[in-house]
Amino acid sequence: MNWMAWTLPTALFFSFIAVILICMTVYEIKSPCVERKGFLPIETTRGDRLFIGLLASGYIHLVFVGLSEMSLFIALGISFVWLAIVLRWG
């Protein structure tokens, strides 16, 4: 595993993703979700919204890195807020 060059931040990142996926699966088994229409232009399921949220978060980080010198923690904060909004109202 040495060649994979793990670092603490990336390990945390992947654990976070894994935990989300596990939670979503458990939640899905407990209460299966139905497609619904929120403020996004298409009908989405919970999983779709999670994916849209995460992908957009990736782009938010890229924009921050590419266009500004601001700390990435701001981008991280914005991403969390965005993720919550999409999951709840998307």
């Binding site: 060649w3 994979m4 060059a5 931040p9």
Partner: protein, 288 residues
Amino acid sequence: MKKVVNNKAWFLVLPVVVLVAFSAIIPLMTVVNYSVQDIFDVNNAYFVGAEWYRDILQNPRLQDSLVRQFIFSFFVLLIEIPLGIAVALMMPTKGARASLCLILLAIPLLIPLNVVGTIWQVFGRTDIGLFGWTLTHLGMDYNYASNPIDAWFTVLLMDVWHWTSLVALLCYSGLRAIPDVYYQAASIDRASGWAIFRYIQLPKLQSVLVIGVLLRFMDSFMIYTEPFVLTGGGPGNSTTFLSQTLTQMAIGQFDVGPAAAFSLIYFLIVLLVSWLFFTTISHMDKAK
């Protein structure tokens, strides 16, 4: 078709998941790890945060190759999609001639990518290649190795030669799925050729065209071997596309960190585009 809910189906997909996860997730995690470190060797790696990402996003060489890549993919779609439809419309509909056409059309798709590059490298040369020789003797100043415009023209022509068949075969199978009744009705109504195309054939081609656009966009977006063999990315950097820039960085200069950051940005672009296409396709399937 109504599908049954059955979570045991997971056992059937498990082998695929394990296999692809081994080849996709482990490498992807590794790329993420590399992208945040400055790596000299296995025991000397330093965490640098988002440094490489900033470098990459602000690096003019990469921005240029990204722009070139989009222009290239745009032209590929602009030429190959209409040409492919036209070829499919002209193909014989049945019998041995149709089979022959199919096989001949499929030939370019079956040639290893570097051989495609070699074929055009030879074919376009002004001394020993028929194409370059003909152009030169027609009085044109053609040289794909020194003139960027000629190089672009040759790379595009090669891609059209190589991949238009894919679009044509897709459309051909789409056209064969139209029942004869439609055409009979159209001929009773004395519909013009254009009207038949616009109101009968094109709507039926919609789903195959989405697949065609998707495959052509993706494959042209990751094109590497053919231009690498044909022009080596030159003259200058005029035909250096994304994959080649990336490969140069990763293998040529062994800049592991920046190459990894670049890979992930590349991957995010691809992920967004394929998600858009996939959503479109599944919505069209649903509409049916």
